[in-house]
Subunit: 314 residues, 2 copies
């Protein structure tokens, strides 16, 4: 077993890279831009070059580098093949094979939300649990499912696509995926703003919320201050999300939900709004499911990516 691992988290604008020792301590982390031109053809070569440079700069013994773990924003199957990533311009890409050819280092890839789940289990809010669902409430809603310590990638890499579970029949606006009534239409940062805009439309109550400066943070802050309209919005948010998480619990029955992403900065108050709805809809055998907050923030991806390699070496 070597001493070092690289963990890479590829986003639509930047790539985060971390150099870890095998105990999971970050020795160094940095970012490079994501070049999406030419159908994303530069993304992996840029990463490979950056890692090669780091190995040279730190004078690392290549034999001591265990490999490169990488999370990407698209479905990735258990053979590390990505089946399209819109934000990178990718069609099918065999990530492990390409990175190996570029660097000579063993590589493992997975979906970014799944990798973040692994990171939170290893070093974040999910420490001590081996069966969890990580829910990232950001621009969209991402999910990562860990069963008995292992990522559930899904047959074609679409495991944990919980942002696109259908939760509301009456929706008339389409989700980014083309369907109607997806969880992320209400539970992402964008979704909270949509709910607030709708609430404001026919509102007659006094409220500090103004359409011009509407953000998820503003809504939760106003709710904490007792703003009635904001409280209505947060209640609706919690109802829909609680229902979605109840559906997930009926399928995989995790020990804990680890809630992260920008919206989770609202803190433990989230659970006060999610839990009543969760309990209303969930199968009684899963009533004991716990809720906790993610703690790694934007670093969850590089941690989880590093763990992909360490798990392979086990």
């Amino acid at each position: 077993m070597g001493k070092y691992v690289f963990g890479v988290d590829v986003g639509g604008t930047t790539v985060k890279i971390g150099l870890f020792n095998k105990d999971g301590n970050v020795l160094e982390k940095w970012e490079i831009p994501t070049r999406t031109e030419d159908k994303g053809a530069h993304v992996l070569p840029d990463i490979a070059e950056s890692i090669q440079n780091k190995i040279a700069e730190k004078q690392l013994d290549r034999a001591e580098v265990m490999g490169i773990g990488i999370g990407v924003p698209g479905p990735v199957d258990s053979a590390s093949v990505c089946h399209g990533a819109v934000n990178l311009g990718w069609d099918d890409v065999n990530i492990a094979k390409e990175l190996y050819e570029l660097t000579g280092l063993s590589s493992v890839a997975a979906n970014d939300a799944n990798v973040a789940a692994l990171g939170e289990m290893w070093k974040g809010g999910g420490q001590g649990y081996s069966s969890l669902v990580a829910v990232t409430l950001g621009t969209g809603v991402g999910g990562g499912i860990v069963v008995e310590g292992k990522l559930l990638a899904g047959y074609s890499g679409s495991g944990g696509e919980i942002g696109h579970m259908h939760v509301l029949d009456e929706e008339e606006e389409a989700c980014g995926c083309g369907n109607f009534g997806c969880l992320e239409q209400y539970s992402s940062a964008t979704g909270v703003v949509t709910l607030a805009k709708r609430a404001l439309k026919n509102n007659t109550k006094p409220t500090v919320l103004k359409e011009s400066e509407l953000t998820a943070k503003a809504v939760f802050d106003a709710a904490k201050d007792g703003d009635e309209l904001a409280l209505e919005v947060v209640k609706k948010f919690g109802e829909v999300l609680g229902k979605g998480l109840a559906l997930i619990a009926c399928v995989v029955n995790p020990e804990v939900f680890v809630i992260g992403g920008g919206v989770s900065k609202a803190g433990p108050m989230l659970f006060d709004y999610i839990r009543p709805s969760f309990e209303k809809y969930v199968f009684p055998g899963s009533l004991g499911t716990k809720f906790t907050l993610a703690t790694l923030g934007n670093d969850a991806g590089i941690f989880g990516a590093a763990k992909l390699i360490l798990d392979q070496a086990d």
Copy 2:
């Protein structure tokens, strides 16, 4: 590795037992009654006695018996502990430990629907797939999830409790679990009859369906003959089930759904009614999910139970 395995499927009225060789051929199968009195205290001793008798009768070398796999109607965690089984009168029962103490044979237990899924994967409709969800449309709706060849038991044994996913907001009657709008209220044999009764209530069309002799089979038969009301019922059944399966696919993204249970005797016509709704609601990355019929019928449980032991020996 030994030569023989026992597979046991415990139901509320009878226990099915199969003696298998390690290639999965049934050497003999039989049934004993399920004695649920005294809080089900006789269930495991009766099974143990029946197996001991069979070993004696067939003059099997005990060293050649690899163990006893057993499926029970309740949540079972991955340590073979059952957390209550209403139909057997059980509270918490450490099945593997008790059966071992009674027989001296290694034992592994799992939930009956999960075990049936494993059986269908091994020798039934799911052969050749390693990532599947088995859906049993019987008196209730059961589910069993297999991920990369392994059962997903769930943290407290409630993995695959898909019959209790919330799929309809407008339901006013309670499900057996106490919640409202569970999948099994519409997609089980009982559920199809409920849907038919509701359709008959305000019906003015001519129909061969009569409330007094309503069964799921009668409804599907009438639909095949073009009965308009029956077709309406089957359409509603397919809509709700397709939606439920789409939700499952967003979570675990299986390669195939294997549909079994009494209702599945309607045959491939089921898929014509399930698929349009599935495609409407599912995340586009899972549109390729396949559908197939279960083939083992009531024997799926004993096959899957035997496989539990063989998997352990791998």
